[in-house]
Amino acid sequence: MDPLLLGGVVGIVTILVLFSGMSVAVGLLVVSGGFLIIFDGMRSLTLMPEILFAKLDDFALLAIPMFIIMGASIASTRAGADLYEALERWLTRVPGGLVISNLGACALFSAMSGSSPATCAAIGKMGIPEMRKRGYPDGVAAGSIAAGGTLGILIPPSVTMIVYGVATETSIGRLFLAGVLPGMLLVALFMAWSVWTTWRSGNAAVLSPTFYSWRERFEIMPRVLPFLLIIVGVLYAMYGGIATPSETAAVGALLCLLVAMIIYRMWSPAALWVVLRDSTRESVMILFIIAAAGVFSYMLSSLFITQSIAEWIGTLDVNRWVLMGAVNVFLLIAGFFLPPVAVILMAAPILLPIITAAGFDPIWFAVILTINMEIGLISPPVGLNLYVINGIAPDIPLKTILKGSLPYVGCMVLAIIVLSVFPGIATWLPDLVMGAAL
């Protein structure tokens, strides 16, 4: 069979299997196994356990459970609330201070967690009820946290950046730095929208500043200090010559666990187990998808589908920006349905050669890809952050959460356009810190 046609068949079968309710990782293995048996014979089947094991045999992947532990241990304490309260006391002079401090807290928390749901849960638990109490529209309360939470995978550390780095052999340290300024750009856009839409909804009163005394402002600082120390410590270890990013993750995980235990007195084995259970569950889920996506890409490569698609796109004589637009649409659609790691692992081997051949920077592309994945996190049907919000505020109807999130999706699309016009927003910082790219 012609590899391109076969690719189409594989695509349709994969969609059907994944929509059937089978878990994503197992579904990918079922599809891979099926096509390998039919087109490659039984010999490939005996290889599956080895390939699966080998896909996980990579030191860089170790950072994934570590960065997840970082987020989970902090999220299990009242640290998120402290962080958020401190920001509020300092930012209330700004119109819309509460929503702005929520988004700021999401951004800061993102710097301590590699995953989006953890960020969303940590800030949302406190932030959503508080915003609603003060009269912010439900859509803004839920949407801003859902969107702010997605920063977890753009602002370093980031699980998806690690996966991208492993899949494309790109420097993870460089990728992390590339996410910083685009993350801030997104925060600014989210803030602007939140304030504007609250004002327009006739709730202008909630935007008026409340006052905290300087005493109250400084009083709360010691409670925020541990986080600032962890962030600074992790950054120092990562870029100061002590350890590679993957190794640093372990230091961050240990520090966060210690802060949770010592400062937040999380001594009971039951409380510790909740942290370990949640992080084990998320890590195993993600790593299993990585392994299964590895087998899936082996199948695509073995049947010459990957190569044929890349060749075919190469022969299309289109403008590079039309190509980039098409790639974005593809990533968006894939992101609606699949978790970020699965999309990256399946798409990166096919897309990256095409992207670099068209003259795009792989580090810049990582940021574009991540923002696309962020959109997927707050869009149905697989929007992990939506579930988190739904769990925190079960009385906000899903429709309202979705409608509230939609403008933030608009902000992300706008950010992609801005980044396309000014790619330096992504590449300037890594070049500054680590020298020009190889």
């Binding site: 089978m22 293995l29 079922v30 089947l45 459970p65 890590s283 299993f288 697989v382």
Partner: protein, 193 residues
């Protein structure tokens, strides 16, 4: 709609002995997996200390940590399956009536069990070759590979068992197929998107 639920969502076992034993095994797997990840955290920190503070060689740490995380992933599979933590997209099940949905559930999970069982089978084969031929890793530490490879048949084997238990639980009426309420599209405010 779908997804991993963030709350504790473990399968109900009732008083069914098969379900209870399987649940106990899977939970034990979860403890082991979590323990392995924590061990990996400590070993990595120890490695940085040895290299950066003591300026000594680090011989075994990198490899040990990688194998621990792989083993944690594989051994953790049945536990995460029990917690319904493997993310899925249940668009088709939601669109179906209760009866057909139950049939689809049994078909989907049987296919899952088949593939997991196959991986356990070929994984055992692979493990046996590594054991009999005394394969080692190609490093100074030279760890005997049958040790990390053991996680393949064990992890997938117990994952198969947990999936079979999940099918059994639905057939016996202890649980609803895909954990969905009867009419999910009109459900609200329950965490069931």
């Amino acid at each position: 709609m779908t997804g991993t639920r963030m709350n504790d969502n473990k399968a109900l076992t009732g008083s069914d002995p098969f379900l209870r034993v399987t649940a106990a095994i899977s939970t034990l797997c979860g403890w082991i997996a979590a323990g392995m990840v924590v061990a990996a955290v400590f070993i990595t920190c120890q490695m940085i200390f040895v290299r950066f503070v003591l300026n000594h060689s680090t011989i075994w740490q990198t490899e040990a940590v990688v194998y621990l995380v792989i083993a944690a992933t594989l051994i953790g599979l049945p536990y995460v399956q029990r917690l319904k933590g493997h993310v899925n997209v249940d668009l088709i099940p939601i669109a179906l009536q209760f009866g057909p949905r139950k049939v689809l559930y049994v078909v989907v999970l049987s296919a899952s069990a088949l593939v997991m069982g196959m991986l356990a089978f070929y994984g055992y084969d692979f493990w046996q070759v590594a054991y009999q031929r005394g394969w080692k890793s190609d490093t100074v530490w030279g760890v005997r590979l049958w040790i990390p490879y053991l996680a393949i048949p064990v992890g997938f084997g117990l994952m198969t068992l947990q999936i079979v238990a999940d099918i059994w639980a639905v057939l016996k009426g202890h649980e609803r197929p895909f954990g969905l309420v009867r009419d999910p599209l009109n459900a609200s405010g329950t965490g069931e998107l």
